[in-house]
């Protein structure tokens, strides 16, 4: 509920009128963020109002190939934490939870990975596979997976090509890679797109909820 996170009355009413001392326009970014984190629905509808992807070619790609609920995402082959090539097609025949996260060894991503790890049995019980994707290289993924004993695959999206192909939106005016999770069903079609940068554990709840209904 939005009201839970609102500050004391005086502060909130002062906010829009004061000249920001903070380095960037907090108001807009937080107001953009609030609806996403509090009211996020199943549909991915933030493309028009939020940050623009960094290069013009990715804008074109995202317009034509953006992955949304009901579509089949573009195929890819990426290296996992052991340096082995892994294709998306490998997972056909069972549901897949594919989560894009900003970077290894950052607080939110660590929380998210550990939350997936702690609920991994539930995902297995639902017959699903969990795959994490970030722009870090295989050695970074290997160290990250080892440190936190992650039982699932981490893929290395070097150059963030797949992130751009799938149209994963950025946060805070393009400064932060977005945290977005896709649930694909057995046929490879997207059944859920969930985005939440600052409440990473919610990704686990939302995806499990959907998997139980698949």
């Amino acid at each position: 509920m939005a009201s839970v996170s609102l500050p004391k009355l005086t502060l909130h009413s002062l906010l829009p009128t004061q000249s920001p001392k903070t380095p960037f326009c907090l108001n807009n970014s937080i107001l953009h963020k609030l609806p996403q984190s509090q009211f996020h629905g199943l549909k991915l509808s933030r493309s028009s109002s939020t940050s623009i992807p960094s290069s013009s070619s990715s804008v074109k790609a995202s317009i034509f190939a953006k992955v949304t609920q009901g579509t089949v995402p573009p195929a890819f082959t990426l290296k996992d934490q052991d340096g082995k090539n892994v294709s998306l097609s490998k997972f056909k025949g069972k549901p897949v939870v594919l989560y894009f996260y900003p970077a290894d060894e950052t607080p939110g991503c660590t929380k998210q990975a550990c939350a997936f790890r702690d609920s991994y049995e539930k995902f297995k019980k639902a017959g699903a596979e969990v795959v994490g994707i970030s722009g870090d290289d295989s050695s970074s993924h290997k160290a990250f997976a080892k440190k936190y004993k992650l039982p699932f695959t981490l893929l290395s999206d070097e150059g963030n090509k797949v992130r751009k192909d799938w149209g994963v939106p950025s946060d805070l005016f393009g400064t932060l890679p977005g945290r977005q999770t896709y649930v694909l069903d057995k046929t490879g079609k997207v059944q859920l797109v969930y985005n939440n940068q600052f409440q990473p554990e919610k990704h686990i709840d939302e995806t499990l909820k959907l998997l139980q209904s698949l």
């Binding site: 500050p7 001392k21 939110g108």
Partner: protein, 208 residues
């Protein structure tokens, strides 16, 4: 004073209130920066960064410092910025804002010291102001001195702490700095012995 003149006081007072509120925000942003970035070798800020690290290691020592000690460094900086403003400006609203904002900043280290005090040893008026939320409270600041040392950075009134923490403002700033400049804030990594608080009884024992 007639009704027509009372508004003359209202605007500077309101400006002062805004200054008080912004001083708290400023204290938080500055504190966050110093706690997380740079080192003893950083130009200009090095000694302060080292002092803040030392404070995390031995937080109780701040309660043993004299009043003048808590004020002098900030007073120097405030004088440098505020004296020219005082001499050049005559607008009462601006002066109200600058006076209260800079005054709160100047006293912020003393407010911080009081937030480390024990209730029975503090002047009753200070305890009353802390309990009323006008000065940063002891429990709120104590939360900053617990793992993962990444919250409750404001030390004037603490009025911004809840908002900044629930909205993940500092986490967002940290992520942006990480992605744009490649710098990791100290609060992301396991606290090492430079950061972890030494308890008085264990100060003889080496920390892991």
């Amino acid at each position: 004073m007639g009704a027509a003149e009372s508004h003359i006081w209202l605007e500077p007072i309101l400006a002062g209130l805004v200054g008080y509120v912004l001083a708290d925000l400023g204290s938080g942003v500055y504190h966050w920066g110093i706690d997380n970035y740079g080192s003893a070798e950083t130009p200009v800020f090095g000694p302060q960064i080292e002092a803040f690290q030392g404070h995390h290691k031995w937080p109780w020592t701040i309660t043993r410092r004299q009043f003048a000690n808590n004020l002098h460094a900030l007073a120097r900086t405030v004088t440098f910025f505020v004296l020219p403003i005082d001499l050049a400006c005559h607008d009462s609203v601006l002066l109200g804002f600058v006076g209260v904002c800079s005054g709160c900043i100047m006293f912020s280290q003393q407010f911080h010291a009081w937030a480390h005090g024990t209730k029975s040893k503090l002047p009753p008026i200070v305890v009353a102001l802390q309990d009323a939320g006008i000065l940063v409270s002891r429990p709120q600041h104590a939360a900053h001195h617990r793992q993962p040392y990444n919250n409750n950075y404001c030390i004037v009134s603490g009025v911004w702490n809840e908002f900044l923490d629930t909205q993940n403002v500092f986490e967002a700033l940290e992520m942006i700095l990480f992605f744009k400049l490649g710098v990791r804030p100290r609060s992301w990594d396991e606290p090492n012995s430079d950061w972890t608080e030494e308890t008085e009884t264990s100060s003889q024992v080496a920390l892991p």
